[in-house]
């Protein structure tokens, strides 16, 4: 695996924005959005700007609204107030396929149909580029091939997805979203349920995709993965953004305690020099204590 640069000081690129645009370049942002399920407000009055060309990671305790925010940003959940802006327009004002040509999402709930092969599944990512008459083209073929190669799954192309390991399967799903050929990729807990080696492998893949110029937004549970690979971190708690910025600003002992209620020390990562969170022993109050109960 080649060295993946840690572009913590990377400035958002202006590649995609029209040159006349006066605001700092961001293709995707939320303006004072409120997101709710069944009238229960999960995220309230939240504004966020996704830096172009960055690898943004959203962290926070369970039920803090981070996945909900991702669903809002990807128009899967329409905000009850405020709006999500994609390339200068309210995201809901685009035709559904047009959004899908600009923004790809890997949700947690993706289902592989029984017996589908890898190449077939990755090909499903081409849907927004197809129509009733032209259901397959050379461009589709090339995009699928590139997506398979980029994720190291080209050898698996003819295999049924059911027969793959968890790590392989997740890479195939990433390939499907890549085949969509969008510069914006949103990933909802893409490493959950994988063993540590496969998690690192996938994080390296994401960092690589980011280094190639794609803008990534991922919801992650692992703080140290966020600290190592993200260029921009959004820390959430109770449906609000608590802190936002580059890893060395957001991943501090005080912040981690504030967001997760976890006693910890932050030391320099011996590999990268970035922040590394080390929990203190016995720091988490025992289950059912008043301290923890009051926060959940």
């Amino acid at each position: 695996m080649p060295d993946i640069p840690l572009p913590a000081d990377r400035v958002p690129s202006a590649d995609h924005a029209p040159s006349a645009d006066p605001v700092p370049s961001s293709r995707l942002s939320a303006e004072a959005i409120t997101l709710s399920y069944d009238r229960a407000e999960i995220v309230r009055d939240l504004s966020v700007t996704v830096p172009d060309g960055g690898f943004t990671v959203i962290i926070g305790p369970n039920a803090c609204g981070k996945s909900t925010l991702l669903r809002g940003l990807s128009r899967l959940l329409a905000p009850s107030c405020g709006r999500v802006v994609l390339d200068g327009q309210t995201i809901g004002s685009y035709p559904a396929k047009e959004v899908a040509r600009r923004l790809g999402l890997l949700p947690q709930s993706a289902v592989a149909p029984d017996g589908i092969t890898v190449a077939d599944l990755v090909g499903r990512g081409r849907y927004p580029h197809q129509n009733l008459m032209r259901q397959w083209s050379d461009a589709d073929e090339t995009a699928v091939q590139h997506a398979l190669e980029a994720t190291g799954t080209a050898d698996l192309a003819g295999r049924p997805v059911d027969a793959l390991s968890g790590g392989q399967r997740q890479r195939v799903w990433v390939a499907m979203v890549l085949a969509q050929e969008t510069d914006l990729l949103l990933l909802d807990e893409p490493t959950t349920f994988l063993d540590v080696a496969h998690q690192v492998e996938l994080m390296e893949l994401f960092a690589h995709l980011n280094a190639q110029g794609r803008t990534l937004v991922a919801v992650l549970h692992d703080l140290n993965h966020a600290a190592r690979y993200a260029t921009h971190i959004i820390a959430m708690r109770d449906g609000r953004i608590v802190a936002e910025g580059p890893p060395h600003e957001v991943i501090t002992s005080e912040r981690v305690h504030e967001v997760f209620g976890l006693e910890n020390v932050v030391i320099p990562d011996p590999v990268t020099g970035g922040p590394l969170v080390v929990p203190l022993r016995g720091s988490v109050p025992s289950v059912g204590s008043a301290h923890r109960g009051a926060r959940s």
Partner: protein, 354 residues
């Protein structure tokens, strides 16, 4: 595993062809093409049998002669006027039911959630009986009654199972309950109405092709045609829906709208089929799964579901007419086979969930 090379993808796990027809470009699995051709040939064979068998038997050669414009006057009358409507009905009604079943099973992601199990056929028949008793026995009225009955039943099932979502096991249980209630309601109505009307109506009680005539059949098929076309236009979207609602939505499909559209089309197809043949069980349930097993596709193919649906109903009608000692309505055959199939599917479903 060998595979035909195509473009840059050496191996996609199966053999496929890109069908090119003018501007049309559709990738098709070779196995699906073979399965489709086999089904078409089998339909031809069964069709010739159906046209030849009966109290005035004709050899397959005679039947083929008639179909190509030859044969004597008597042969022509027997084949074209007497037997052809019934054989066409077997194929076409079976195809409508197969397509409707595939639509329902796809959007609910449940192999048991077919319109016959959910009671939509019985509901359409209830609507037909009500139209017959309260309005008239003319075909447009019966068709309208059948459609309204189907949609009303769908609405009731939707409301009763809303909490579990259309993908839940609850939907199946509610559907089986509604189906039984409607079936007994239909029997009761048949007992209550005047003898003459009841004779007319009970011919369809369990699903039958006995009373099929060319006029009403053509009418029902003309009604069903736009819905069938619409179903095929939905195919790419239905395929995306198989990836889960979120994934479908993120590739540019609106899951709610596609699901509603597919169910609406499915109900209309079942209603059209019911006006001709009554509530025929099993075909909508089994045809899509048989097509999937034969062609080994990860999704339910509408085309194969239609072909195998036609094959099932035509075959069942041949058995009902000619194999059993007394001629029975085709519904009796499909119900018996369907019951066994349903029990098997439920056992498999429960095992899968346990």
């Amino acid at each position: 595993m060998s595979s035909s090379r195509l473009g840059t993808l050496a191996d996609v796990g199966y053999r496929r062809r890109i069908v090119r027809l003018g501007p049309l470009r559709v990738p098709v699995r070779r196995r699906s093409i073979v399965a489709g051709l086999v089904a078409v040939v089998a339909l031809g064979v069964l069709g010739v049998l159906a046209l030849g068998l009966g109290t005035y038997p004709l050899t397959p050669q005679q039947v083929v002669q008639v179909l190509f414009g030859g044969g004597d006057a008597m042969d022509r009358t027997v084949v074209i006027d007497w037997r052809l409507p019934r054989a066409v009905a077997g194929i076409a009604i079976g195809a409508l039911l197969g397509i409707a079943g595939a639509l329902f099973q796809t959007v609910t992601r449940n192999p048991l959630a077919s319109p016959d199990i959910l009671g939509l056929s019985h509901g359409a028949f209830t609507g037909m009986l009500l139209a017959l008793v309260f309005v008239s026995g003319s075909w447009p009225v019966l068709t309208l009654g059948s459609l309204l009955g189907g949609f009303a039943t769908a609405a009731v099932i939707w409301l009763l199972s809303a909490r579990g979502g259309v993908q839940g096991f609850r939907l199946i249980v509610v559907g089986i309950g509604v189906s039984s209630i409607l079936a007994s309601l239909n029997t009761w109505m048949l007992l209550q109405i005047e003898l003459e009307t009841a004779m007319f109506a009970s011919a369809w009680g369990t699903g039958s092709l006995n009373g099929v005539t060319a006029g009403p059949l053509a009418g029902a098929l003309a009604c069903a045609l736009p819905f069938a076309v619409a179903a095929f236009l939905l195919v790419p979207r239905l395929r995306q829906l198989g990836l889960g609602d979120d994934m479908a939505a993120s590739t540019g499909v609106r899951p709610g709208a596609v699901r509603a559209g597919a169910l609406l089309i499915g109900v209309a197809l079942v209603a059209a089929a019911t006006t001709v043949a009554g509530p025929v069980a099993f075909v909508a349930l089994a045809a899509p799964q048989i097509g999937r097993l034969v062609a080994r596709t990860p999704h339910l193919s509408l085309l194969l579901s239609g072909l195998f649906g036609g094959l099932l109903l035509l075959g069942a009608d041949l058995i009902a007419q000619h194999v059993l000692p007394t001629a029975l309505p085709v519904g009796v055959v499909t119900v018996s086979v369907g019951g066994a199939y349903l029990v098997l599917m439920i056992i498999l479903e429960i095992r899968r969930r346990a």
